[in-house]
């Protein structure tokens, strides 16, 4: 019985399994799809439809041609289709679960849709930045917004670089109104007036060169909002502070298509000396038409500038007014006039203590109170024809400076009153032209300049009444073109340069010294071939400038000629995606044409005298450098190692005589060598989740140079080790925080001057925080701490802190309150070892100051 029961149970289980399998099999269809050659067809769409043509299920064949259709209830027919094959329709047969299909190859039949490929809105190489997208709380001027735009960097003077390269120019509504003073526009134009910043990358501003000469420079164009285009706009600022200080400013701009003008004026006594307004910025045109102005002979005995914002220490009264006007003469030609007047009167009180080490160590202490006045008038007129056939630019400019310094000096030698008057005048013409012959481009550039400076020095009680006059004429003309050599460019340029110096010193106005006249001139011819070789993953650049200089000093009645070669090679190579290597090697020979030759000693100030350089001198510098970089974007960390070695040989060196009553710098004509090398590394790590960025760097520099003073001569081996650490945190949208700390140690080796290593330790740290409790309100605070080792183990610390708030009450009106130097630091001190010598410097600081500023925009 039991065996029968068992058999029945087994049978029941078997029947259940069979039934289950059968019922399961009926919930899906499967099969294989092949083509007419019997090859399985992949990716055939198998669709199961109901009798009412509704899609019930679908599947795709795999590479074996197999498919499985599930949820097949109420399925009526299956369609097998694939592009390039004839579709097949099979009716579902009751109880049939397997449907194998053979598809026939056919034409690709598509319901072809017309291809529409509308142009991308980005126009050529122009990027359009919407100002509103970048403008953040607290951004008042367009410069503040430009700083936030990717790839744009702005230096302290207002000069703009894009992707690391100086831009061509800043246009306003397509016109170059400002020339090399575009910083005045970007620093004063309200951000709210600008709708768009157009960055024309690789922009060739010269139409005749467009498409023929590539440039990696960009042009910025400021597009104004519609309601700012047809009327003058600008702002008026009135700022008043404690101790009777003020800072007032007005800017008015009108930017029409035919005429544009910008007027700007300011007046303040809060430490802003408008340096950026007076200096302007360097532009691309200055590549071959830039020559430094000669150094003036008169220099203040103490011309030290502390590494602080002038607002902390400067007691000034400064005014400026500038006018810029542009008129479009035709579609392609413009006439531009720029003018500036500037006046600054500054009172400075500072103290220095210098110790010059020698057998008879000399110490000089000076406490000085000076009143310095600067007056500048400069004007510029430029005509530009920028057509598709020809480019012509001529710019006439002039600049007159007048510096007056009255200084009262107390030293251990007694009291000295010194008066300096310096009036340099510069007149110059710059001309650029491009000739497009079709097959070749030839570029001409030229500068002619006349420089005149009259300098007077009067000092008591050792009556010095001295005056010097310098007249200099300078010209440089260049012609250049390029050739294709083995698929790479060979650039060739030829430059001819001439300079004539005429110096007259009143102290030497007698027959023996030729009426104190020093007349000199030189001709310099330069041929500069440059060959660029680009290869996969890198490039090499070979330069071989060849120069020939003919130099003549009238008082010696002889001349000197030299050939100079300055070969260099530059190598860049990506070793792999994360490592890159670059190296440079060069031998550079360079004639010193900047220092004005003078046959006699020059009086620099009441106690300093310098031997003039009366012969041609050449500097030769050998340099080798290398850099290895690593960057992982996966882990966001990078490091960089850089090493450089240089050796410099000069034809002469300076020997100094330091005495309590005077300093004398003598030119000694013997070979002077200087060596230095340095090694630096930096590491940066970005912690994504915590929004924290930490960077660290360390640099060691060694310098060996010849020092000769008070009869002792030896090589000084100086060393500096610098370390820095910076932390930036921006996780919260309403709080941004940055901390930077740095320290350095300097020391020297034993030498003939001292057995001491002169070790000094310095430390600096700055913190900055911005808080935005409401959209219209910005609170900020910054603090910097500096600690200098004044003498061994004796530290002087300075802590500066500012707090402020800005409140935009309405769209046109805003109010700021600023507290500067809230810890009321009254004295700044620092020391430095320069080789063997020690200098201590101190300057009194402006007291704590509260300033209220109202701003009205029109």
């Amino acid at each position: 019985m039991s065996s029968i029961k068992i058999t029945k149970r087994i049978l029941a289980v078997f029947l259940f399994v069979i039934t289950t399998i059968c019922s399961y099999a009926q919930t899906e269809f499967s099969g294989i799809v092949i083509d007419n050659k019997g090859v399985a067809v992949n990716r055939v769409t198998c669709r199961l439809f109901s009798a009412s043509d509704s899609l019930i299920s679908y599947a795709f064949t795999n590479k074996k041609g197999a498919y499985i259709l599930r949820n097949i209830e109420s399925g009526s027919y299956i369609i097998f289709s694939k592009v390039g094959y004839t579709s097949m329709r099979l009716a579902v047969i009751d109880k049939q679960t397997t449907y194998n299909v053979k598809l026939e190859r056919g034409e690709i039949s598509l319901k072809e849709v017309i291809v529409t490929a509308p142009p991308i809105t980005q126009r050529n190489d122009t990027l359009l930045y919407n100002v509103a997208s970048f403008q953040q709380k607290g951004d008042l001027y367009i410069e503040d917004v430009l700083k936030r735009m990717p790839g744009i960097e702005i230096d302290a003077n207002g000069g703009i670089t894009y992707q690391g390269v100086a831009i061509n120019q800043v246009n306003i509504e397509g016109q170059n109104l400002m020339g090399d003073q575009y910083n005045l526009a970007t620093q004063n134009m309200p951000a709210e007036a600008v709708s768009q910043v157009q960055v024309m990358q690789n922009d060739q501003p010269i139409r005749s060169l467009a498409g023929k000469v590539n440039t990696n420079r960009a042009t910025l164009n400021l597009k104004l909002k519609r309601d700012y285009r047809l009327r003058p706009f600008g702002e008026i600022i009135g700022g008043y502070g404690t101790s009777g200080t003020y800072d007032d400013h007005i800017t008015a701009i009108e930017a029409g298509k035919k005429n544009q003008f910008l007027l700007s004026a300011g007046i303040n006594n809060q430490g802003n000396n408008y340096a950026q307004v007076v200096n302007g910025v360097s532009t691309v045109n200055s590549l071959y038409t830039n020559e430094p102005l000669p150094n003036l002979f008169l220099q203040n005995a103490n011309n030290h500038k502390p590494p602080l914002s002038p607002e902390y220490y400067l007691r000034n009264e400064s005014y400026y007014a500038s006018m810029h006007y542009l008129h479009a003469l035709s579609k392609y030609s413009t006439l531009r006039i720029n003018g500036l007047w500037f006046h600054d009167a500054t009172n400075l009180n500072d103290s220095t203590y210098d110790r010059y080490i020698a057998n008879d160590t000399t110490t000089i202490f000076e406490a000085s109170a000076s009143h310095r006045q600067t007056n500048v008038i400069k004007g510029q007129m430029q005509y530009e024809l920028n057509s598709e056939k020809i480019y012509l630019q001529d710019e006439v400019s002039g600049k007159l400076n007048a510096w007056h310094t009255d200084e009262s000096i107390n030293s251990q030698q007694g009291h000295v009153d010194e008066r300096m008057r310096r009036r340099p005048l510069t007149l110059q013409n710059i001309f650029n032209m491009n000739i497009n012959t079709g097959a070749r481009l030839v570029q001409l550039s030229s500068i002619f300049r006349y420089f005149h400076a009259k300098e007077e020095l009067y000092a008591l009680p050792d009556t010095i009444d001295d005056s010097t006059r310098l007249k200099q004429f300078f010209m440089r003309n260049r012609i250049g073109t390029s050739f294709n050599v083995f698929g790479n460019p060979l650039l060739i340029g030829y430059i001819i340069e001439y300079k004539h110096n005429d110096v007259k010193q009143s102290n030497y106005d007698d027959a023996q010294y030729g009426e104190g006249k020093s007349i000199s001139r030189y001709w310099l011819h330069t041929l500069e071939p440059v060959y660029e070789w680009n290869f996969r993953g890198g490039s090499m650049e070979f330069r071989l400038p060849v120069e020939w200089i003919h130099y003549r000093n009238a008082w010696k009645n002889n001349s000197d000629s030299r050939w100079m070669f300055s070969p260099s090679v530059k190598f860049d190579k990506k070793l792999n995606p994360v490592f890159s290597l670059s190296a440079n090697a060069s031998i550079n020979q360079d004639a010193n044409t900047i220092d004005v030759p003078v046959r006699n000693a020059i009086t620099n100030n009441y106690r300093t005298f310098t031997d003039g350089i009366d012969s041609l001198n050449i500097n030769k510098t050998d340099m080798v450098s290398g850099r290895l970089s690593y960057l992982s974007t996966i882990h966001l960390w990078s490091w960089d190692v850089y090493a450089v070695w240089t050796k410099t040989k000069s034809d002469y060196c300076r020997a100094y005589l330091y005495m309590p009553e005077l300093t004398y710098s003598m030119a000694v004509w013997k070979q002077n060598k200087q060596y230095n090398w340095s090694l630096a590394y930096s590491i940066k790590k970005n912690f994504r989740s915590t929004h924290l960025t930490i960077s660290h760097s360390m640099c060691y520099a060694y310098n060996k140079f010849l020092l000769s003073q008070n009869g002792i001569e030896d090589y000084v081996h100086s060393n500096v080790l610098n370390m820095s650490l910076s932390v930036y945190w921006d996780k919260l949208s309403w709080l941004h925080y940055k901390l930077s700390s740095a320290g350095n140690i300097s020391w020297k080796g034993k030498d003939a001057f001292s057995q001491s290593n002169n070790a000094l330790h310095n430390f600096y740290s700055t913190m900055h925080a911005d808080v935005f409790p409401f959209p219209q309100l910005r609170l900020y605070a910054d603090c910097s701490i500096e600690s200098f080792e004044i003498s061994h183990g004796n530290y002087s610390s300075n802590c500066f802190s500012n707090v402020g708030c800005e409140w935009n009450i309405t769209k046109r009106f805003s109010l700021s309150v600023i507290a500067r130097n809230i810890f009321n630091r009254r004295l700044y001190e620092e020391t430095v070892f320069s080789g063997a010598n020690y200098q201590y410097y101190s300057i009194p600081l402006c007291p704590r100051r509260f300033v209220v500023e109202c701003r009205f925009r029109f």
Partner: protein, 271 residues
């Protein structure tokens, strides 16, 4: 390269591996929000899906054209200058915000993706399975009747409109697996929108290739997407090191501070 006197650009032939020849090209216009908080600022691109029997390739149409001009210039160096304008024009149209090329191996069901912000990365994964739900909804796109389907993939919910009358179970990028060509694909927040703008039997742009230069970092999907995200968000800072951006201050080239705020990244694949 800067040449004041009229130098010439340097072109290197693209290194590539050609896998197949396209039979059909499907074009998609892409709109995407580089910053999801700025909903009116779409970036635009034109993409092409190349289809053969064994492979699918998806990438930027102008990038293919740019590669072609570049290779012409690299081979014909003497005539390179004449094509420089075309090169610049085409380059300006490439959608560098979505610099991704994918190749699907239909036989082995794998997908290889190459992506580049500052550096080039490549990873290979099994072809993703999309769990499409066909839902109620009809539309007509480019004159073709379309059905609606939804799915969730890589952190986003997608709506696809597919044309059952086009027997191509494919779509933009790696998307596919519907019984008809995807004519429109967008995520529910409209961050990424692919709209079909044409289908044609391939007569040009036929090479289906991946780049094969040595600079490509082959890694896994997680690391590649992480690096891509880092490079988009920290582009300004990382470019200083990778491209070697330098600032000229006081006449000296110096490395700028790299404390730019992070840019938003609104990647197609969030995870």
């Amino acid at each position: 390269m800067f040449s004041p006197d009229g130098g010439m650009d340097h072109y290197e032939k693209t290194e590539r591996t050609v896998y197949d020849t396209a039979k059909i090209n499907v074009y998609y216009t892409l709109y995407f929000l580089a910053d999801s908080s700025k909903t009116d600022n779409y970036t635009k691109g034109l993409m092409v899906l190349q289809v053969s029997d064994h492979y699918l390739r998806f990438g930027d149409l102008y990038r293919i054209q740019l590669d072609s001009i570049n290779d012409f210039c690299a081979i014909n160096k003497k005539n390179a200058k004449k094509a420089a304008n075309d090169f610049n024009q085409t380059s300006s149209k490439v959608c560098y915000g979505f610099n991704i090329t994918s190749l699907v191996d239909l036989d082995n069901e794998t997908a290889t993706v190459q992506l580049q912000a500052l550096r080039k990365y490549q990873y290979t994964v099994p072809l993703p399975k999309f769990d499409w739900q066909i839902t109620e909804g009809d539309s007509i796109i480019n004159g073709l009747a379309c059905k609606r389907a939804v799915c969730r993939y890589a952190g986003r919910s997608y709506i696809a409109w597919f044309a059952p009358s086009i027997n191509l179970p494919y779509g933009p990028y790696l998307f596919g697996g519907l019984p008809g060509l995807i004519m429109c694909l967008c995520d529910k927040s409209n961050n990424w929108i692919f709209t079909n703008s044409g289908i044609e039997v391939a007569r040009s742009n036929r090479d289906m290739y991946l780049y094969s230069d040595k600079d490509i970092i082959k890694t896994d999907r997680e690391k590649a997407l992480s690096a891509y995200k880092n490079e988009i968000e920290d582009w300004n800072n990382l470019a200083v090191d990778i491209i070697g951006l330098r600032v000229i201050k006081n006449g000296k080239e110096i490395k700028p501070d790299t404390n730019y705020p992070r840019k938003p990244s609104n990647m197609l694949e969030l995870k």
